[in-house]
Homo-oligomer: 363 residues x 2
DNA sequence: CAAAAATACTTAATGCTTTAAGTATAGAAG
DNA sequence: CTTCTATACTTAAAGCATTAAGTATTTTTG
């Protein structure tokens, strides 16, 4: 690509032709009130005739210190955001908030090999949407010294945080299942670490987890399970991503265990939907033979042939809050949004119709 | 938000402390080969200790003329891209191509009130994904004088174009319906104009259409319908957007006509899915009482309780091609990607099972 | 009609980096 | 030991705009 911002004429060129100072030309473009309409028109007309494309964004940015865009940093391959309904919903909120404020929205991938692009992106602030909790990656971002907001994940001192009560919500899921009488549970989680591991996990791996959301949800499940009452057995499977396919893989493992779990908790709806597919394949009746609970309440959870019990979280709102927090417009350092347990057919034999659901506020 | 790119120390500050020239500091960051490892390390260490965040992107950009990001311009509210499966799939391809090349992906809304942000975005090129074919809006973009690519929509001389044979594909849809013996047709289209009109349209409105994709598809339908053979009646409904809800509204109108159409062609799957919902509500059997054909082959088309006949187009590939074309890496001025008619239960009584489908190459 | 105020425009400093070309030094080659 | 080359670093120009403060001119006001 040719150096696109170069070789396009400058304010000075226009000024010379019109016979005014550069200041006037600058004002013609960005502060109309400083000029007589007549001169302004003349300048703009000349600019057009000279093919002058308007003030160079880089120079303007250098001078004003304002880029007019914010970035969302995403740890997985960038295209996943367009494939994952939860990420899409969040970004939808971010996009809406950006549009309102006339800000551009820059999507950045973080992780190894992507440091340079994070370092040199022309932005006014960063929303950290997913990022492993490891020092190297964080450093690149923090080093920019830009305003930032962390969404879900870990938190950093003095950096605004927007999220939900992951642990409390997960706890409520597990309690729900426990209350239904299940004593053998399976848990399917999206990554705890950034190593693309796929398989059962041990305690150590859980405790060292560098994706906080997964860890908090896991902790929620486990605490509710261990919170007294009847003894409950648990098998855990970690997936390298959060797709239906990963859910299927997990289910193939968990459902072949003997004795088979009677309920599966998944840290995302996509995983849960994958689990249900496999259950159907093995002719297990849901919720009688197997109860399934997801997390997120993506549209597919409700639309599924067998509607999924899940935790509803306000993704769009999260996105809007994240932008607001980034711009320091208002609000506290920590914004915790409310969630609800949505009970549908996939877990509760008492829910008889597909369009029936029960909402329970969490906390 | 505080002026974030300001007040952060400069190359010069670091140079002074280390006691070297600014050039050396610059090289330490961006051209390691120009410096002894020892000096480089010293400079970077000092930079860290001074909280110098690395070269100012604006200044670097001003000097090099390279921004490191490209933009996708979208005419509807930006958050729609995260809600529309077709747009998501396209952007998914764009995102993948950007990641590969270490480019940032900036999402920009175009249209009234958004000119300034398009004018001042720090980018190296533009992918025009949707944009009404009206001079004012186009001008803002063209005026930037940046490399650009137009995807679908109108084309501009010497601007690379990536798209599909909309008209041919639509023609094949209509022929398919015609061959099945239908003589009363309804057509549901997404916007032909940017005026949010919702209702039946006349010839004039169609001919003056400023969204080319809609126009080309409409023309395809109509030409196939008028191409001799039995006489066929057509009712057309234009929607202000391309959602299921719009499809429902359209269906409420079309299905109340007397006599009722026996087939409905929709310019998008989302519209078609909305139509099918209403058909179900009225207890119409699909495809016997009503055949429905969509366009795009989004995942929901296949997953629908009654799988939808539609045109499959390679969205991700379109995105990747658009980026490639923007970077002038290869390829001709016009890239036309192949499409297929995917025949499923919603149109063809001969398709008996939900998971059965027939593919027909278009052209 | 003189003084004050508003309007319209200019001056000039400043923002921070990149990079071709130049210089000094150390090491290799003859 | 001289000459050449490579290495390591410096010089200085250029990239393009914004904007506070100043000047000249016109309009308003008393």
């Amino acid at each position: 690509m040719r150096p696109s911002l170069k070789d396009r004429g400058t304010l000075t060129d226009v000024a010379k032709v019109v016979g005014v100072s550069v200041a006037s030309v600058s004002y013609a473009f960005s502060r109309p009130d400083q000029l007589s309409p007549k001169l302004r028109e003349k300048i703009l007309a000349t600019a057009r005739s000279l093919n002058y494309p308007g003030p160079n964004p880089a120079a303007r940015m250098l001078r004003t210190g304002f880029a007019g865009s914010i970035a969302v940093v995403y740890a997985s391959p960038l295209y996943h955001v367009f494939q994952d309904p939860a990420a899409s919903a969040f970004l939808s909120g971010v996009a809406e908030a950006c549009s309102e404020r006339r800000l551009g929205l820059l999507l950045l991938q973080c992780g190894e090999g992507y440091e340079s692009i994070i370092r040199s992106a022309a932005i006014d602030g960063l929303i950290i949407y997913t990022m492993p909790n490891d020092a190297v990656t964080i450093q690149t971002v923090v080093d920019r010294g830009l305003p930032m907001v962390i969404v879900d994940q870990f938190s950093l001192p003095n950096v605004p945080f927007v999220g939900i009560e992951d642990q409390a919500a997960a706890r409520v899921c597990a309690r729900h299942i426990k209350a239904l009488g299940h004593r053998r549970l399976g848990i399917v989680t999206f990554p705890l670490h950034a190593d693309r591991y796929c398989g059962p996990i041990d305690k150590r791996r859980l405790e060292k987890a560098c994706f906080e959301v997964a860890r908090r949800r896991m902790q929620g499940y486990l605490r509710a399970i261990d919170a007294g009452g009847p003894k409950i057995s648990v098998k855990i499977w970690e997936c390298p991503r959060s797709s239906e396919e990963d859910g299927r893989t997990a289910a193939e493992y968990l459902l072949k265990k003997n004795p088979r779990p009677t309920a599966i908790l998944a840290t995302s709806d996509r995983l849960a939907l994958g689990v249900m597919e496999v259950a159907r394949k093995y002719q297990l009746r849901i919720p009688d033979d197997l109860a399934v609970v997801g997390f997120d309440d993506i549209p597919a959870a409700r639309m599924s042939a067998l509607p999924l019990t899940t935790v509803r979280q306000p993704f769009e709102e999260k996105g809007r809050f994240a932008v607001a927090a980034l711009l320091r417009e208002k609000g506290p350092l920590r914004t915790i949004l409310p969630t609800k347990l949505i009970i549908r057919q996939s877990s509760d034999p008492g829910v008889l119709r597909a369009d029936q659901e029960r909402e329970i506020d969490i906390r």
